[in-house]
């Protein structure tokens, strides 16, 4: 395979890299060429961006929150308090 030609696997990996870290000039060119020739990866990129946008917008609402009970908080506070009174810095 010519060095400029990426496989679909590599091309879609680079799309992810692009989103989070950016690409080198050569990688940019490789990806551009690949997308020109490959409608599947072009479709993938668009959909990946849609997924990314949804996650950016409301991942926070959808993530299950973990909560400490009042009792656990009290116990934790007690432990922290004790450790502070014996630590040399207090």
């Amino acid at each position: 395979m010519h060095w400029l030609m990426l496989s679909c696997k590599r091309a879609t990996q680079l799309m992810e890299k692009k989103m989070h870290f950016g690409l080198s000039p050569i990688e940019k060119m490789q990806l551009k060429l690949h997308k020109k020739a490959c409608k599947y990866c072009t479709a993938y990129e668009k959909q990946n961006e849609i997924i990314d946008q949804v996650l950016q917008e409301n991942m926070a609402e959808k993530v299950q929150a973990y909560c400490l009970s009042e009792e656990e908080k009290q116990r934790m506070m007690e432990t922290v308090r004790k450790s502070d009174s014996i630590s040399p810095s207090s």
Binding site: S7, Q47, I50, M59, M76, D84
Partner: protein
């Protein structure tokens, strides 16, 4: 303990303990350990309180102490960040690509309708997406939660997770390929 410290501790516990606990639980995948590290975070924070200069918010400051503890934990306990359990449910990337790295015919991405951006406004689409995320492995989920929940810089996140940058986007790539495929089969049933 003096009264000032006591008051700080009460406020931190009230305002931030659940957030820190949620964050640690996702990263560690272990509720008890998460509790311990949150507790240690408060202990360290009280000791360092005099040195807190208010350059960042309290929440950011506490989170960075916690993240250091998580990093230390991984450094001490294992070189490999992810256990087999955490990887359960992951499909090998070769399920989707053939040996040349081309899409296998049954997994070639097809358009999701005429106007794909309209999907963004559909609650049902978002729900389907989060349902698919629920089905992902803990490792995939944790990386995504880390990335999208706190909108972290990727480089910082890699450091906290104890993985390299390359490893990070390769994991995200695998997670996204599997996620997209799940959406394909649950939301868009192609009329073939």
């Amino acid at each position: 303990m003096d009264r000032e410290k006591q008051e700080h501790l009460e406020v931190w516990m009230r305002d931030y303990s659940d957030t820190l606990y949620t964050w640690a639980s996702y990263k560690l995948n272990d509720a008890n350990l998460a509790k311990d590290l949150v507790q240690d975070t408060f202990i360290s924070a009280l000791q360092a309180w005099e040195r807190f200069e208010g350059r960042s918010s309290i929440k950011t400051w506490l989170t960075s102490i916690l993240n250091n503890k998580i990093r230390d934990h991984y450094r001490k306990n294992k070189n490999r960040m992810f256990s087999l359990d955490e990887m359960a449910g992951e499909r090998p990337i070769d399920d989707f690509f053939d040996s040349n790295g081309s899409w296998k015919p049954e997994h070639r991405p097809q358009l999701w309708g005429e106007d794909e951006t309209a999907l963004l406004d559909q609650t049902a689409f978002r729900d389907a997406l989060y349902n698919c995320i629920d089905g992902l492995s803990d490792r995939f989920k944790n990386v995504m939660v880390g990335k999208y929940l706190e909108k972290k810089e990727s480089a910082d996140l890699c450091q906290e997770l104890g993985i390299s940058a390359t490893n990070f986007w390769q994991i995200l790539h695998r997670a996204k390929v599997q996620l997209r495929n799940c959406l394909d089969s649950t939301w868009f049933k192609h009329a073939e």
